[in-house]
């Protein structure tokens, strides 16, 4: 099976080279060759299926922009953001804020959805991997901005007040689907991709916006 894949690939690579002949293969040829390489190289393992590589238009457009070394044009970016905005599921019970203590636990955990996890492994939010959050936690990443004082800096003193509504909704939406606000954000789409449940998203919103959360001290 493996050998067969390799032969198929060599033929594909050779074909791509012959097609290009004297000239170098075009970017489209290289995209095709890459797709063939991906298909022959990755396999299911544990709970992870190879089909998770069949990704959506958002990721495809952002990957292509990264390869080209040019950001998406504004119209495409706006269209991607709009289509992601439509996927946001707002809290069915109208409660945007859950329990910040639970949110902190989720923020700490980077577990779940790898091939060494099982289906019962609770998914973590992976938040501290990239963000500063509670100041007491010194082991934080810097790929994303600091979220320390997130609510305080945005003037959220009462998350239930009408004045806070827009910020509360933004926070929920950003965690649910970060690409709704920034087409090629590095941030996962926690709600949209099923990494976090609705209740867990509410706990994370509370971590960021609850005035009692250590984030806002």
């Amino acid at each position: 099976m493996k050998t067969q894949h390799k032969i198929t690939l060599s033929v594909l690579v050779a074909a791509a080279i012959i097609a290009g002949c004297a000239t170098a293969p075009s970017s489209a040829d290289l995209d095709k060759t890459t797709a063939a390489v991906v298909k022959s190289s990755f396999r299911d393992e544990g709970i992870v299926k190879a089909s998770v590589l069949d990704t959506d238009e958002t990721n495809k457009a952002c990957s292509a922009a990264d390869v080209a070394g040019k950001p998406l044009d504004e119209a495409t970016a706006k269209a991607i953001e709009a289509s992601n905005m439509k996927t946001i599921k707002w809290p069915a019970n109208g409660k945007f804020l859950g329990n910040w203590q639970e949110g902190e636990k989720l923020a700490q955990s980077g577990r779940g959805l790898t091939w060494t996890d099982d289906a019962k492994t609770p998914n973590g939010g992976n938040c501290y991997n990239c963000h500063q959050i509670d100041k007491k936690e010194i082991s934080f990443g810097t790929i994303g901005p600091s979220l320390y004082n997130f609510g305080k800096l945005r003037g959220v003193s009462d998350p239930n007040s009408p004045a806070s509504k827009a910020m509360v909704e933004y926070t929920w939406g950003k965690i649910w689907n970060a690409k709704a606000y920034n087409a090629c954000s590095n941030m996962p789409r926690a709600g949209h991709m099923g990494i976090m449940t609705e209740a867990q998203v509410a706990d994370l919103v509370a971590l960021l916006l609850d005035p009692k959360s250590p984030v806002n001290q």
Partner: protein
């Protein structure tokens, strides 16, 4: 925790000062731990085992690997590592060190390359593979990466590797670039090299194979890439698969001129 509680009785000024002190101490102890890592590298043991394995008659054909051509002619080991992956005319493929060793183990020694590739890391012949790559990389220690981009397949593999590097997918939309596409970032406290350009001597591609203190394991580049993909929530990349070799070409060419410190030591 207890300390923090009692301190909270003091003035705000004292609290801030003590928090800064606690933070410094934690960071300092991490720095001390890192400094400790430089005292001795257990990779030496794998290196010695690898050299023995290279010279030892093994496999169904009871032959050594001393006639293996790693790109600089049969039996030439010094300098081979810093030119890999590269194109090999006998296999008509671009191969990295591990995939080239599979070829040699099959053709010279009579091992089944497919079986070895299927063996999980840390078991059977994969342990021998790790020792071999440790020794072979050590023979090029301090030399500068200089991958060929002359053959059309080498150029194609660079471009494929670049596309793989930026491939966003899986439940988290991660790509290699999510962590390794910017300067001066960290995951938790771990510094991340920017691999879209030359990260410099002994960083990124130039720091593997490496001994990992945190789990007491020696890892080659194949295992390093494999674990990146695991954390990316991607499916399993086959050992020595074209995707892993193409990524190696992309990273290796980007590291052109940087010195290899392999075998390195990591947290």
């Amino acid at each position: 925790m207890m300390l923090h509680r009692s301190i909270s009785l003091l003035t705000v000024g004292c609290l801030l000062a003590s928090a800064a002190l606690a933070q410094k101490t934690a960071v300092q102890s991490i720095e001390e731990y890192r400094a400790m890592l430089q005292d001795g590298n257990p990779a030496d043991l794998f290196e010695a085992k690898g050299e023995d394995l290279w010279k030892q008659k093994r496999g169904p054909k009871n032959a050594s690997l001393e006639k293996c051509d790693l790109g600089k002619g049969p039996g030439v080991v010094k300098g081979a590592f810093v030119e890999l992956p590269r194109y090999f005319s006998d296999t008509n493929k671009v191969q990295d060190l591990e995939s080239r060793l599979l070829t040699c183990m099959e053709t010279l020694q009579g091992f089944n390359a497919v079986e070895i590739a299927k063996t999980p890391f840390g078991r059977g012949e994969q342990n021998n593979m790790t020792a071999l790559v440790t020794w072979i990389s050590a023979e090029s220690k301090g030399m500068k990466f200089n991958l060929s981009q002359v053959h059309p397949q080498e150029k194609t593999f660079y471009e494929v590797g670049k596309r793989l590097f930026f491939q966003r997918a899986g439940p988290h939309d991660f790509s290699c670039s999510s962590c390794h596409g910017q300067d001066n970032t960290r995951i938790r406290l771990q510094d991340l090299p920017n691999l879209t350009k030359n990260p410099g001597d002994g960083i990124g591609f130039a720091a593997w194979p490496a001994y990992r203190v945190s789990n007491g394991q020696m890892w080659g580049m194949q295992q390093r890439l494999n674990d990146c993909y695991r954390q990316q929530r991607f499916p399993y990349p086959g050992f020595a698969s074209d995707a892993t070799v193409a990524l190696g070409v992309y990273l290796g060419v980007n590291s052109q001129g940087s010195a290899s410190v392999a075998p390195a030591i990591k947290r």
